[in-house]
Every structure is written in C-alpha cells, then in structure tokens.
Symmetry: C2
Subunit: 345 residues, 2 copies
C-alpha cells in the first residue's frame, strides 16, 4: 500500500490561493523583491513548502529573453580532461543556481553551427567555448545577440569576449626546472597538431621554459602529435629512431604522454630509468598508468571559477572587451620521471 503522492503546485496561483494572497506576493516572497509583511511571508512560505512548489523558469525566460542558462561547448568528451573539467563547471554553475547546457562539436563545423542555434534558441545568458579546432566565425551570431562568450586559451579578447588561459609557461618552466635538477640536459617535446594556434602557444611556452633554465632547444628532439594517444605513440617512435635521444620528453597533454609511454614500453625502454616522461593536464587516469605519470595538472575548479567570473564581468559591461584571465597549474611528480641516466643512450 503506497500513500497517495502529495499534491504538487506547478504554478504560483495554486500557492497564492492556499496562502490567501496574490501571485504577486508569492513572487515577492520567492525573490525577496518588494516588501512583504513578515506574517504574510510566513504564510506564503508555509504554502510553498506544503505544496512542494516547482517554479517554471520558462515563464521567466519567455518574459525576459534570458534563461539563467549558460552554454558550454567542448570539442570532445573522449579526452578525459574535458569531462573532468565539465564536472567542476557544472558544480560551480549549479551552485550559483545557473543551469548548464552542454554541447560537443567533435571538430565538426556543422555540429558547431547546430550548437550555436540550440544555444540561441534556449536563450543562454553566456557561452563558454573550448573548441580551438573549429572556425570561430560560426559563433558570431551569439555575439550579434549581445551574448557574452568566454574562450579558453585564445589569449585574446574582442568586444563581448573574455579569455581564460592556462598558464602553460608556468607549467613547463616548473617541469623543466625539475628535470634539470634531476640531471637532464636534453629534453624533447611532443607537441600538438600542427597549424593550431594553441599548439603554437604551447610549444613556445616550452621553448621559453628551456631558455629560462639555460638549456638548449634542439629542434630534432621535437615532434608534432595530435593531442591523442596514437599521435604520442607515433611521435615517440619517431624520436627514438634517431641516433641521439633526449633523456626526458615533455608532452602537450596527458593523452600524448600515455601514447608515448606505450611506445616506450613496446620498444623496451625503461621509464624513468632510461627516459623520463612528463604529461600535461593531470587527468585522473595518469595515475593508473605504469609507471604513474608525472604531469602538470591544470586546476579545473579554478578554471570553472574563472569562467564564471569572466562571464560576470562581461555582463556588467556589455559591448566591451572582457578580461584575460589565467588558470594556475601544478607539477605533480609521480614515477615517470627520475634522475637522468649516466650515459646518453
């Protein structure tokens, strides 16, 4: 025998009736707008509770053209960094009583166009865009509607846009210094897909880190990858085909490092005894690798918070350029790095 489900109010009228007030008063109590006598407010709150009132945000969206929803556009969910970020993003935004609309582009221009339309239809109040691989002209309709956009890692801002950038420079500097302290003198690099702005930025950050550590940048120890496992694997094999080798390799992200690690295993090269390896991102599965991967972890939570902050700033000053913010980074030393081997292999 199940008890009858309790009556539930799906509109304010029902609540107002029960409390013996008008819907205007209910609204005032809910939003803390306008003055309501304490006694009345109490009665309303009681009715609200008893009737388990479920507000209908589409009414507000309809009235004001704003939905309290924020869109997030991710390139992909198969790189664990993105879902791990999404987790924090959702948490941060929902905590502020915002709703989140998730979309992935999967590097398809068509998908991005559809996504933009979906976001416009849902009257999002802002968009966070983490899809460096696609042509960003597709998002112009969003800007035309005066909806703020926060990009990730573009390192520039225009009217209505802000940018949140990962501190690659700090990350590579820290890692290079640590490797130097471990005795490494020649450090290789497996980068991202060629031709992408973000690949360029990361490679430069690595070069700069070497310079600051007074180590030589050797182009023959550099390879392009594709931000994925197979690219890292192929790049590492290519690196190892040469006569001379670096004693340590840094990568553009963890997936690349995992691929490189697999190649090293397959070729019977000891990690870290014969070669040290450093990833970037700090995905959880880096710890599941053998040996557990040393990496530069990106502070996902702070990244989500910076997005929220940037969006807030853009809303305060519509039509102006938004801020350029930075996300900190942390070297997580695990077991894929160790002292440089005595003799160069």
């Amino acid at each position: 025998m199940r008890s009858q489900p309790p009556e539930i109010a799906r509109n304010m009228r029902t609540v107002a009736l029960r409390a013996g007030v008008s819907t205007a008063t209910v609204s005032r109590v809910l939003n803390g707008s306008g003055a309501v006598k304490a006694e009345t407010a109490e009665r309303v709150r009681k009715a609200l509770k008893e009737l388990r009132f479920i507000p209908n945000p589409s009414a507000t969206t309809l009235k004001y053209g704003r939905s309290n929803t924020y869109g997030i556009i991710l390139p992909d969910l198969t790189n664990p960094f993105y879902p791990e970020f999404l987790l924090e993003f959702e948490d941060v935004f929902v905590e502020q009583d915002h709703e989140v609309l998730v979309a992935t582009t999967q590097s398809s221009q068509q998908k991005l166009t559809n996504t933009v339309r979906r976001m416009l239809m849902r009257r999002v109040d802002g968009v966070v865009m983490m899809a460096s691989e696609v042509d960003t002209r597709a998002v112009e309709p969003i800007l035309n509607q005066q909806i703020p956009i926060v990009t990730i890692d573009r390192r520039r801002a225009q009217k209505g846009c802000a940018d949140v950038a990962i501190a690659f420079e700090d990350g590579y500097r820290e890692a290079v210094l640590r490797l130097k302290a471990l005795g490494h003198r020649s450090i290789g690099f497996i980068g991202g897909t060629e031709g992408l702005r973000t690949s360029e930025i990361r490679l430069q950050a690595f070069q700069q880190a070497l310079a600051e550590a007074e180590l030589r940048f050797e182009p023959r120890f550099v390879r392009a990858g594709d931000y994925r496992v197979n690219g890292g694997d192929a790049a590492m094999r290519s690196l190892l085909r040469q006569q001379r080798r670096p004693t340590a390799v840094m990568t553009v992200n963890d997936l690349t490092a995992l691929g490189a690690l697999r190649a090293l295993h397959a070729l019977g090269i000891g990690v870290p005894t014969q070669m040290s390896l450093v990833g970037f991102d700090g995905i959880l599965l880096g710890e599941a690798a053998f040996p557990p991967l040393t990496t530069v972890a990106v502070a996902r939570r702070e990244m989500a918070e910076r997005c929220l902050e940037a969006l807030g700033k853009l809303q305060q000053n519509v039509g102006t350029r938004g801020p350029l913010l930075s996300v900190p980074v942390l070297l997580v030393e695990r077991e894929s790095t160790g002292p440089a081997p005595r003799t160069r292999t």
Copy 2:
C-alpha cells in the same frame, strides 16, 4: 570594416509581418500542421530564412508543460565510460531534435535531490538514470509527475519505468570461452563494490559463464573492487598474495582492470605471459595501456538508442510498465590476454 549584422527575428510576429500573414500561418508552416497554400508557404519560408528566425522553445514549454528536453543522470564523469556514453546520447537525442539536460550525482544523495528538482523545473519529458549507487526514492517525484524514467541495469521495471540492461551474461560468456580456448582453466574475478545490486548481477553473470564453459568457480579467486583504479590494484595484490593463482583474471570494468594491470606491473608479473587480464566497458583508454587491454566493449551507441526507444514506448503508454531492453556487447581482443602459461605459478 565589418558589415552590419543582419536583422534577426526572435519571434513569429516579425516573420509574419514580413511575409504578410498571421503568426498562426507561420506556425503552421513551421510545424507542417494545418493546410497552407503552397504560394503562401513559400513566402513564409523566404521570410523565415531572410530573418534567420530563432524560435523560442520556452513559449511552447510554457504552453504545454513539456520541453522536448530529456534529462540524463550520470553517477560521475571521471570514469571515461560515462562521457563516452554521453557523447552518443547527446548525438542520438539532438539528432531527433531533442534537448539534453546533463547532471551528475557524484554519489551524493543531496545532489540527486537537487538534480531531480532541476529536471522538474525544466519540465523534462523523460529521464535516463544511470546512478545505481544512490537511493532511488529520490526520483519518485519524477514518477509522480508522470514523467517516464529509464534506468540502466536495474533489470526491473515498474509503472512509468523501463530498463536498459547491458548483456553482461553474453560478455562474460564470450570472454570465458575465449580464455578457455587459450588454455586457461582457473579464472579469477575482480568485482564491484559489495552490496550494490549491479555488482551482484555482474558476479552472477561471470559465475554463469564459468558454468556454461564447464570451468570451476573458485571463490578464493574472487575479490571485490570499487569500480575504480585503486580498487582494482588492491584486489589484484590481494589475489596475488595467495599461494595459488588463477592464470587469468576478469574484471567488472576497465578502470578496475587498469588498476589490476598496474599492480601486475609493479609486482613484475608479465601480462599476458604470466597472467591474462580482461576488462569490461571498452573505454578508449584501454588501448593506451601497455599491453593494450582486452575488454568486453559495451555498444554505447545502441545503448543511447535503446534509451530513446524505451522513452518513446513509455510515452505511448503512460502509467504502464515499460520494456526491459538489452544492449549488446563485443569482445575486443587486444594484448592483455594470451595463452595460459604451461606451469601454474
């Protein structure tokens, strides 16, 4: 010099004005409801296009209390299986012009309660629930609102509910038979968290597979894990602490297998030379492991399609029990499995 952004219509009135018709006609053209003269329809379509009309679904949601949005509740996004499934889910639903509302519970009862409220507020038309770890009484308000729910892997349905189950039995059977063909006679198992219904189901499926293959089930070769890397690592270490060992180990999911693999590496046990290892789920990163992980892959796409199908059935027959559907599974043989070692270690 940028060209002026084109005027965009955010309501039907503007479009109707331009086409010289009423909003009702515009609506009829858009939805293909009611008869419209071909010539008029053409004029409307032209106006629609010229003005880049963006419909406002909140109006429809407000009018009908239905949003064309489906909620999906995931336990977590750090297990790559979930985002990989989400990717397909989004794709399948968006393709049908549905919107998707994503939420994660992170095994928190409070978060689930909030999520349910969010879904109710957004007037979702259905919910897919993949969170076996939490108390499902929290979702009752959804059922009370006559909103259909599709659960994953509960293997039962009640009024307003359907279930989509992964064919564990098939998966374990296939894998066990393959291992048997490779000469394995004693096969261990690392299961899920104890006390969960889904852990029970999976263990039983494994036992059944052994029985069908006429292999003995040996409880001392069974350990509980936690569906995560560390649980798999610990369980494997515990398994290896015994005098006698299985020659192959199957696991409840890939994360568990990855942890087990790490333990095997750490203890210097060759995979697959000394021990074979089989995961479950087919996460992409299984291929990045060394050796690449043999696993039973769950057909994510079909899983998403079954969810859509189940939701459709439930909507056709409100208030009845929904179907129990099944998702197929595929053995993906990579390099963590091989012939059983000659002598038992």
